[in-house]
């Protein structure tokens, strides 16, 4: 099955039109020595067969419809309202290209404009772009953006050790060579003090361990960053912003984050979307696509891709980024999710996460051998010191149909035998009680 409509007589008629006799005549520019290689691929399957095969492949996985999940660490199990799937399932959205021709792309353009507006509302920023590949690449591009805001003069990027380890790794891949220095996360208590060479300080709120820095602490940090002439970049969980202070209020200049929790399934790590929003003063240094409002020749409101002079297809090697394709459909899902949840719904999701996580944390802390680590307020994740290696605990939990937490020892050597647990609105009290019971059993083994 190749989805090709041509019959043999169609092909013959087309060849005749161009005066060719054989389809092979069209490939004479390909060196004969390498032309028509054999492709060793499995024999083709019918739709019925491939669906059967894929279904059984997918069933080899332990999925979250059949397991209680307490794993987060940057990818979150949140409820996706049915309406979101139906919206992104409209093939007028998902089979369209990037909206370069605005007259016939108003649907995509307006949906992005609304998404940008809602991301601004959520983060307290002035402008948001149409998305990046994920939170990690948003963070890396935001750091490069901060360097560009300093016109390339400031070469130091300070990143807190409590930023997601894979984001910090991605940031390092994105800043190759010795030209830009990424520093601050070498030790758990490194110096995060910005200086005259610092382009930006990057923090995460709630941090990788789920903890929330206090409002006064954040304001002081922002003031210190600005006094040094640098920018404050905040990586955040958008669901937390249903309850907590938007980064714009405590002085962030650029806000990034993983947008997956907003209406996108876990999907084994992708496709997700990177949020990126900033203050107006650095808007023209932003990477990525932006949709702006304008009017047509009749004076009607319409939307177009704008400020394209920042982008690769115009500016080539002088562009603010090489990004072209982004995660538009995931951003559509995020926009639809935010609109569906609305003012009260998002707040309620965040509240459910908060209360359930605290209930779980209290219950687990009461089990002999387990301790809650950290003294700050937290949102939906918390760190637990365990009496055994987390991998052993997770194996035992799996036997009870529970997917356990994230083993922090793999990224933070001083946190050996520490586990990061996540509780969302998807976890019922029964699930939490089962987790607690299973953890109690672990200590008896």
């Amino acid at each position: 099955m190749s989805y090709i409509p041509h019959t043999d007589s169609d092909r013959a008629a087309m060849l005749a039109e161009m005066g060719a006799e054989d389809i092979g005549d069209l490939f004479l520019d390909v060196p004969e020595s390498v032309r028509y290689p054999e492709l060793k691929l499995p024999l083709p399957l019918s739709e019925m067969e491939i669906l059967g095969e894929l279904r059984s492949m997918s069933e080899e996985n332990a999925d979250l419809d059949h397991h209680a999940c307490f794993l987060g660490a940057g990818a979150y199990n949140h409820f996706v309202p049915s309406v979101v799937g139906h919206i992104i399932g409209r093939s007028e959205f998902y089979t369209a290209y990037t909206p370069y021709q605005p007259e016939i792309s108003q649907g995509t353009l307006q949906a992005i404009f609304e998404y940008q507006s809602m991301v601004c509302a959520l983060t307290g920023m002035d402008a948001a772009n149409a998305s990046h590949y994920d939170g990690a690449t948003s963070l890396a591009e935001a750091a490069i953006m901060a360097v560009n805001v300093s016109r390339g003069k400031r070469r130091k990027i300070i990143v807190s050790p409590t930023v997601h380890p894979e984001y910090r790794a991605t940031l390092r891949t994105y800043t190759p060579g010795s030209d830009l220095a990424v520093t601050g996360d070498e030790e758990p208590t490194s110096n995060l003090q910005p200086d005259g060479d610092t382009a930006c300080l990057i923090i995460q709120q709630p941090d990788f361990f789920g903890q929330l820095a206090e409002a006064s602490e954040l304001k002081q940090l922002a003031e210190a960053v600005h006094a040094a002439g640098a920018l404050l970049i905040v990586n955040t969980d958008p669901i937390s912003l249903g309850l907590f202070t938007p980064p714009g209020e405590y002085g962030a200049d650029i806000v990034v984050g993983e947008g997956q929790p907003l209406g996108n399934p876990l999907n084994f790590g992708g496709p997700y979307l990177g949020l990126l929003a900033c203050r107006e003063k650095c808007m023209r240094k932003m990477p990525g696509r932006l949709v702006g409002e304008t009017v047509d020749t009749e004076g009607r409101r319409g939307f177009v891709l704008t400020l394209a002079a920042r982008e690769q297809h115009i500016r080539r090697e002088r562009a603010t980024s090489n990004i072209c394709t982004n995660q538009a459909l995931c951003a559509l899902a995020a926009g639809a999710y935010l609109a569906a949840m609305g003012k009260s719904g998002l707040r309620q999701v965040a509240k459910l996460c908060y209360h359930k996580a605290h209930y779980a944390a209290t219950q687990i802390a009461a089990i002999p051998g387990f301790d809650l680590v950290g003294d700050k307020p937290f949102f939906k994740e918390f760190v637990v010191r365990c009496p055994k290696p987390p991998s052993e605990i997770n194996d035992a939990l799996l036997e009870q149909g529970i997917i356990g937490g994230y083993d922090l020892g793999q990224d933070y050597p001083h946190l050996e035998n520490h586990m990061l647990l996540c509780v969302t609105e998807m976890n019922t009290r029964t699930e939490i009680d089962c987790l607690v019971e299973a953890l109690e059993e672990v200590t008896h083994d």
Partner: protein, 490 residues
């Protein structure tokens, strides 16, 4: 026909989603950290659904009509791929689950890596890059790692033909390199003399799109690779145009060291209005160890682990390549997109894939034959999967490519890619793909020929086009001068 903004249909107190009651005791909240206002819309589910359905109806899409957008491979997106990617056994898995609990995902990724290796002629593949430009950046970083490991630090220059996509120079600059542009020759190939003049021990490598953006196969591709390799440089392949090469030639056989595939072009995963795509990278033997990761590996010997409930055999796992450039994003790649590409390749098999490329090239040449008598053709050769015409019609000097593009909308077609590649004045880049019937191709050709007549007889029809679309031409200057990038309450 325009649609209200979602904010304009909001009314205090409306809801689209009802959540369960709290079933645990509440805990006090840190008051000083709570936000005061959350200015999101408040709408009912019916209003929300209608809003987005109305918006969707303002779009042109592959499912509504012909989309001959050059360089973008807007082929039909089979519905079975969508069903496959929606299977809850895939969508409801967390990326940090133990490998033993996601053997189905890892097997799919491993097999897809194998298929892409075979199709491209490479030693290894990483599925991590999320899009074409992301794959380019990855490839350049791998070339950088290769030269650095050899202590070859003088190399700072990436060679890029003047016909290349803008992402090529942008990706090179992001990797800390300078760009040297190589001009094209009279036949649309890389100019070999210009190439030789640039080739010295400062060359990182050459980024080559083949077929190039003129839709032409590089006639001297073997020699180009040889020249670049002789000066110690590497060959980067931009796989944007792989739809012409499936079973026709393997880039690895041609001499490319590293290449990105666009699963959202060649392998029929939908473009989503601008993403998500997927840009896996294939590498030759000498570059394989630098691939970003982790990538999926298959255990030599099957090890059993009695504790695993789901899978007693942990055959597949994720590993970092030996001298990896690191990760280019969190997690492993756009997995949902990978499922669609896997489904497509399994349904077509090797013969089906070759048929795709043959019919994509046939369709492009057929349209070319029907249009070249009327529209100027700057490089008169048989094309591959796309071709480039030059917009200005000799008989209608006041009509521009933009006008032709906009007029096509009145005929119900999406315009071709316009004003690219930059080396063709007023370019019209047309890629029909293999999935369009002869009747559709004929209707498009007839519209193009009619527009050429209109350009001469009634050019205002073109200057004022489009007239049948939800909005007419939009004021892009105003949008850029006075940027309004978000809705604000009055």
């Amino acid at each position: 026909m325009t649609e209200h903004l979602i904010f304009e249909i909001s009314s205090p107190g409306r809801k689209a989603v009802f959540l369960p009651e709290l079933d645990v005791p509440a805990t006090e909240m840190p008051k000083e950290l709570l936000r005061e206002d959350l200015p999101l819309p408040e709408v009912s589910e019916i209003d929300l659904m209608r809003h987005y359905v109305h918006l969707s109806q303002l779009n042109h899409a592959v499912d509504t009509g012909f989309y001959p957008l050059g360089s973008c491979t807007m082929k039909y997106n089979p519905k079975v791929n969508e069903e496959a990617a929606k299977l809850p056994g895939f969508t409801r898995t967390h990326p940090y689950q133990d490998h033993g609990t996601v053997q189905g995902n890892l097997r799919l990724m491993y097999e897809l890596q194998e298929y892409l290796k075979e199709i491209g002629g490479f030693a290894a593949v990483s599925l991590q890059p999320a899009a074409g430009a992301h794959g380019e950046f990855t490839g350049i970083l791998m070339m950088r790692a290769y030269h650095e490991e050899r202590g070859d630090t003088r190399r700072t220059k990436v060679l890029i033909p003047d016909s290349a996509h803008g992402t090529n120079p942008a990706s090179s600059a992001m990797s800390g390199y300078q760009v040297a542009e190589i001009k094209s020759d009279q036949r649309g190939n890389v100019d070999l003399e210009a190439l030789r003049a640039h080739c010295d021990d400062t060359v990182v490598g050459l980024m080559l799109t083949n077929p190039n953006t003129l839709g032409l196969f590089e006639e001297n591709v073997l020699e180009v690779c040889e020249i670049v390799h002789e000066c110690g440089g590497l060959m980067y392949g931009d796989g944007a145009n792989m739809n012409a090469l499936l079973g026709i030639a393997k880039p690895g056989d041609l001499g490319f060291d590293v290449l990105h595939y666009n699963l959202h072009k060649t392998f029929s995963t939908p473009h989503g209005g601008g993403g998500p795509g997927s840009g896996p990278v294939g590498a030759s033997e000498r570059l394989a160890k630098y691939l970003p990761g982790p990538i999926t590996v298959k255990a030599e010997r099957q090890t059993s682990n009695v504790k695993r409930k789901i899978s007693n055999l942990q055959l597949y796992s994720l590993e970092m390549p030996q001298a990896s450039i690191g990760r280019v994003k969190a997690f492993y790649g756009n997995f949902g997109v990978l499922v669609k590409a896997y489904t497509y390749i399994r349904m077509l098999g090797s013969e089906g894939l070759r048929q795709v490329s043959e019919d994509a090239v046939l369709a492009a040449n057929y349209l070319l034959a029907r249009l070249k008598e009327v529209y100027p053709l700057p490089y008169d050769r048989s094309c591959m999967h796309e071709f480039v015409l030059s917009g200005p019609l000799p008989q209608a000097p006041d009509v521009h490519t933009l006008d032709i593009a906009k007029r096509l909308m009145d005929y119900g077609f999406h315009p071709p890619t316009v004003y690219f590649p930059l080396i063709v004045p007023e370019a019209l880049m047309i890629e029909p793909t293999e999935t369009e019937s002869k009747e559709t191709l004929d209707a498009f050709a007839e519209a193009m020929l009619k527009i050429a007549e209109e350009a001469q007889e009634n050019p205002d029809l073109l200057h004022e086009a489009p007239q049948t679309t939800p909005v007419t031409r939009l004021d892009e200057v105003r949008a850029a001068r006075h940027p309004k990038l978000r809705w604000k309450p009055k």
